[in-house]
Amino acid sequence: MQRGRAWAWGFTGPALLLVGFYLAYPTLGTVYLSFFDRRSQHFVGFHNYVDLFTSSAMRTAFRNNLLWLLVFTAATVGLGLVLAVLADRVRYEAVAKSVIFLPMAISFVGAGVIWKFIYAYRPATSAQIGLANQLLMLFGREPVGWLIERPWINNLALIAVGVWIWTGFAMVVLSAAYKGIPRELLEAARVDGAGEWQVFWKVSLPLLQSTVAVVATTMVINVLKVFDIVYVMTNGNFDTEVMANRMYKEMFQFRHFGRASAIAVILFLAIVPVMLANIRRFRQQEAER
């Protein structure tokens, strides 16, 4: 490890200043405002926090964020990993990866329209315009209000949209790392008689471990911030509320700056355990160097 603080500050300085200005400084303001009332006029102590932890809307939001955390993170990271490794082995890799990546390139306004054509509900006596219900009817079932049926169907339907969008991200990052694994290592294992399955578990995965952690951390942060999918499709109705959408409502719809700030602070605190886990990982990593 190279010494030289001057170099270090020169390298990190510009980035730190920009992050300091655009993110750290507003965050300080947010923390401060979270202790004031709706128009930031009167100090109210922890009142906003108490309000939030006792409101049923926020309880639903906490539960749903947890559901997102489990399903969305597992699905994006798992699928992304599988695709990064498997797509490497097919001749049409570029096409396959582009297709998986495509949803990331679609603006959310477009994605909202797309999913309308999947989840739309029409009574059984009408022509369906939603693909999901058309498929159900093909199997002789009644159409389902995908975004209405609480609490599991509609939340999972929203999570599916998130997975559709973000799997491409996980795949691209993991693929970049996978391509970085020296081919000789894989070949050597194969020559030693390891099956593909073993090569993956014994050689590839350990080398991808830190990238998997990066992608998983990014996905956890995504879950905490998940907003536009919920906002556009249900706006938190029918028990689909999530924290970031609640924050947006409090901030711009209800204009309660205190509560909106308090939610932002809660989001920030929620990330601390994840960051601690990252610290532990770094220590290990550097000890192994």
Binding site: Y22, L23, P26, W164, K179, F227
Partner: protein, 287 residues
Amino acid sequence: MRGRSVGGTAPGALVDTVVVLVALAWLLPTLGLLVSSLRPAPDVAGSGWWTIFANPFDLTRWTLENYRHVLGQQGMGRAFFNSFLITVPATLLPILLASLAAFAFAWLDFPGRQVLFLAVVAFLVVPLQMTFVPILRIYSQSGLAGTLAGLWLAHTGYGLPFAIYLMRNFFASLPEEVFESAYIDGASPLSAFFRLALPMSTPALASLAIFQFLWVWNDLLVALIYLGGGAQTAPLTLKLSSLVGSFGQEWHVLTAAAFVSMVVPVAVFFALQRYFVRGILAGAVKG
């Protein structure tokens, strides 16, 4: 050459099946949008998009009208140009600054290194909406409101935490010997960064460039807040969103609009995909 079935436990057929099935599942929603963008609005509202395949050659049921409407808008060219003008600097700047910082976080020793790094990453969780008021306030006092430079810097600031996180992870996985031998030859950290670290990280740089590019390209809100949205500076996203009425009338043009705006990020993805190549590190280790 592809090394498939070397060990015999993951037969190529299975790999093909999985990849093709997932790809098809992922393609289906987009296909629905594409077909819908080529149908007249009343048809889209009245029947499922897949029904068109019952009579795919009935040309009266296909139309280019949505695309004609979108592309025929006055000022479309200007909006495309503005989007490039916003996106290119707002992609390159954070990549450069993030790589520099990430290199220091991975390979230079200084006090508070890890805490500082994780603090930067933690800011990834800050909802951008909470930053608008304080930043815009300073912008309007310092004359940065409504300027491109202000928007570039904002996108840079917002993009840095993820970029630093990704690049640090990649740099940290580079073999230590590479840098050791360079330093022994008298190289400075700066030349180690430009001559060794960056060239060895093209896959990570390429993926970062793709993401940052498309996030900025697809951004609507940040531009609306800091740039204001006048016709001279408005990016494509803003132009396209103004095609829809206040109650959501004419939403069907969004189908075509989505494809028009998707063309550029997808092209960027294809262009950068060739940097996802194997073996960059292998050569370096041997050398």
